[in-house]
Symmetry: C2
Subunit: 198 residues, 2 copies
Amino acid sequence: MGIIGVEGIKARYMEEMTKMMCFSEEECDAIKSLNLFREFKKGSVLLKEGQFSATSYSLVKGCLKSYYMIDGEEQITGFYTETELYTPSCIVTNKPSKQYLSCIEDCLVSISNPEIESVMLERFPRFEKLCRISAEELLAKQKADFDDFKTASPEQRYINLTKNRPDLLQRIPQYQIASYLGLTPQSVSRIRRRLLTA
Amino acid sequence: MGIIGVEGIKARYMEEMTKMMCFSEEECDAIKSLNLFREFKKGSVLLKEGQFSATSYSLVKGCLKSYYMIDGEEQITGFYTETELYTPSCIVTNKPSKQYLSCIEDCLVSISNPEIESVMLERFPRFEKLCRISAEELLAKQKADFDDFKTASPEQRYINLTKNRPDLLQRIPQYQIASYLGLTPQSVSRIRRRLLTA
């Protein structure tokens, strides 16, 4: 995890969260006492189709991908990087997962689950508001992404990604980017060539 | 609005909400006193591209569609029917809307906006939890819809709709269904014929 080291990254993450959420010292201590940080090696599979999981992952460092196996092929539906949150749909549907979740890079995450949340929400009721606002913001963001995906041409989808998530193009292999955009690797190559010569 | 009449529908809606949310008499009276019901005729446009709106619509009766105008053509991204909620992204992004919202049928809705919500949340703090859970459920549902859209073939997208939202096929013209599925009307006709003769 580079020159700062894992403990440095954890400390900086807690500092940033404390600033953003205006955590009190008591709240901060309560969160630290839960020991929520976990490390996973690149390639680790955190969730498989058919499994039931109630664990959410907040990315501190690294990158996760969510995907489906369809006719033996990976179809990627999401990348999750620093500060993003992956919540398994099992929690809401009460059904086994239809998708997989794995680490594209070495990952440091902060985990949570409904039990941890309920303990924290009971002890610190003001977290209800933080969680509500965060869920509503995520909802709006996800809806905008969905609308963009539906209304954009393949070329426009690629251009949107270069504008909105240039970091993904740097750290993720092109064939996985293609799968995420619902395109073939050949289409992405063609689009890139067209854009470079335009 | 049929034989029960608008007042009957409003009363039944309040009864159902009261049951679902376990509203106390005080909470119920507070909501009623806000006079949130509005009626709109079929064809009414509630939001246009470039406008800023903070008004959310809970569908009591009728159907709304959200859409983008792209190269002079409507691209439909959502249908909202009884018990569903449309929230404009403006509230979160603080930018003008990129999409339109209009009534496909005569509509009876219950409106809200951040000011109304903040008054109610201050008066009845337990609503924070209701709103958080509802936002988290919507988030999971929307994510599943997005994943389905990304991973399904055109035919599978149509089959998913017949399974998950058979009501939409009954009340919405086929060319609008096609737009919503990201397909041409001709493709939808072909898919329907194939499924009928299969």
